[in-house]
Symmetry: C2
Subunit: 373 residues, 2 copies
DNA sequence: CTGAAAGCGCTTACAG
DNA sequence: CTGAAAGCGCTTACAG
């Protein structure tokens, strides 16, 4: 039994030869028209296009791939555990951004999700050995990332999401997300917080490490102790454990900046469960700007970037690299602080004067207070 | 300037001809060996394998695709808005499950994320016109889903995630998630709840509609009014709005079953913000079992399915369909209720007898002093 | 401005 | 058990 309609079974897909015959030209001509090569008479061109439309023909990528040695596909290999990626809003948004440019470019996204380093290497090797993709996106850059060397050796065009540690031969599409951490620390310090902690993500990931460094630097520049930090694996469980650890310390922080929203939300739960008021006793800042945060109680102040725009820019850059052999780095607008209701002055702190414009914040800790909207 | 190492630039990829020459056989023989066809002398086979290994050759899918008219790729077209999919834990887990079987099968996942119905149709048409995939996964089944007919007409093998509305020619891989709703209603009814509401997802999606129907049916069977329901778009914002609507009603529910965890979490925020105690005043049940739920306060009772297993089973089924021309439906273990701390007896309700097993919870709020963990 | 032919790198009857 | 040849459906110099 076939699952298909019978009439369809009868009519095989047309090929370029069918179109050529129908239009009364050679296959080469048809190819020229579909590849926008000059030198085809306007009316011949129209006739060919009409024939193709009538027959419902579109060049088969299979054949095209073989003769042009191009896959018309871009790869994304994600190495993360399913339960962690399931909570992470970055990838879906990033992929949506990538898709938005690929669709118009006749390219397709080949996705690979792998659990560990070994299968990750294998995934890249297979992708190139089988000639599956024309280039790849390299996300979640790590310390001494072995993928850079591998990709170079494999001669696979790539674009890195963020700047790698060492100079790499690939274009980087960067978004300064650490700027958001700096803004958060600045805001909290202005509110009067002194004991500010950072719940970092996986320290082997560059963006996580950079956020942590930025935290410490911003703290130091504010004349505060930037060593209150605990690293996690980016999971909600990690965020919860880190929060428990922080509030168990004798000098409990009055503010916590988390490396992602899932951890911040878990942290909110822990604080709440421990009877610690947010933002009355402890201010909380997340990272990602996930939709849900707006509806929490209190609404989660967070740091927002533009993962969709990041994906689109990365795709454009990778396409350019593949087409021209080179592409410029691109720098996107930095992440910014989005204040909602989980941040306020520390307990017993005098209020600052009301600021005149909404985007600017009171500066001295001795005079801050009504931000708790 | 090339981004690659020079030595690599010198050595082009080996082809089957190189291997054949190196092993002193014809190309056909090499092909036979790599396709496990019988009739090759054992030692010839070894020699060929050795040559291939030495040259680092692997059949190019490009060429293989053209001669076998197979893409060695499976497609997944997701039609959802980025911000909704970003919060939804289903797809990442589902895709991880799919990947887990594709990796060993020499297949690859081609992903497409589209914003609306028009681009969705286009995506499928392009996938087959260009011969990109050998089959597709059809998720988020809808009422009068036009994709079923389209796919049939396009003659593209497919497997549906869940049973479509009308009989379809494609195998279905089903997981009875509505069973979780029934279990939740049963549990809440046993606890003494009578005014139980359901915050449904997008009513045009079959799984959402089925959960809603199951809710009403289970309520009716329990002798309760199953009409307290509000539909949403599955977003956190939708869950928040629905919750606001429910608690504004004169006969405010004492329990709410949400169609997904992001909505439940937003609902928790709204309830909390409105001074409604959870679970003291209102019990809350989510759906998905996202990691974060465990760390909320109160920890979110929810309904858990196995999206990863679902993805793996769907991939296996699709591969079978493509290989054999047909495949059996598969039925997975139904979703089940996972009790945590957001459910308790309704206000002022007498406690049920203490059950012997740990999975049950104290019931009366008048003596549930220790539930508030 | 157009056509005939070779080639991309495999697979697969068909002979031997 | 093995080899030579045609073919998959395109693209692209190369002639005209």
């Amino acid at each position: 039994m076939s699952v298909f309609e019978d009439d369809a079974a009868v009519r095989p897909k047309p090929t370029i030869s069918d179109v050529a015959r129908h239009a009364g030209v050679s296959k080469g001509l048809v190819s020229f028209v579909f590849n926008n090569r000059p030198g085809v008479a306007a009316q011949t061109r129209e006739r060919i296009l009409a024939s193709a439309a009538e027959l419902g023909w579109r060049p088969s990528v299979k054949a095209k791939s073989l003769s042009t040695r191009t896959s018309y596909a871009l790869g994304l290999v994600i190495r993360r555990e399913p339960h962690i990626i399931a909570a992470d809003p970055f990838f879906p948004a990033f992929m949506a951004g990538v898709e938005s440019v690929l669709t118009g470019a006749g390219r397709v996204l080949v996705l690979s999700m792998v659990p560990d380093a070994r299968t990750e290497q294998q995934a890249y090797r297979t992708l190139v050995a089988e000639n599956r993709v024309d280039g790849v996106f390299v996300t979640d850059l790590r310390q001494r990332d072995r993928r850079i060397g591998l990709l170079q050796q494999l001669r696979l065009p790539a674009v890195t999401i963020g700047h790698p540690e060492a100079a790499a031969p690939f274009p980087a599409v960067n978004l300064d997300d650490a700027a958001g951490i700096v803004a958060a620390v600045g805001h909290l310090a202005e509110l009067g917080h002194e004991r500010i902690a950072h719940v970092a993500g996986d320290p082997s990931m560059l963006h996580s490490a950079r956020r942590a460094e930025s935290f410490t630097r911003a703290m130091t520049e504010a004349g505060l102790d930037g060593s209150r930090m605990v690293s996690t694996d980016f999971s909600a469980a990690g965020g919860a454990a880190a929060t428990r650890e922080l509030i168990a310390a004798r000098d409990q922080p009055t503010a916590i900046v988390y490396a992602n929203d899932p951890m911040a939300i878990a942290g909110l739960g822990v604080l709440h469960g421990a009877g610690v008021g947010v933002p009355a006793d402890v201010s909380v800042v997340g990272f990602d700007g996930i939709d849900m945060g707006r509806h929490l109680f209190p609404a989660l102040s967070t740091i927002v970037a533009d993962p969709e725009g990041w994906g689109a820019a990365a795709a454009t850059t990778l396409l350019t690299l593949i087409a021209e052999g080179r592409a410029e780095d691109v720098e996107l607008a930095p992440a910014r602080l989005l204040l909602r209701s989980s941040t306020a002055p520390p307990p017993g702190h005098p209020p600052p004067p009301a600021p005149s414009e909404p985007s600017s914040h009171p500066t001295t800790r001795s005079r801050s207070s009504h931000v708790s909207t």
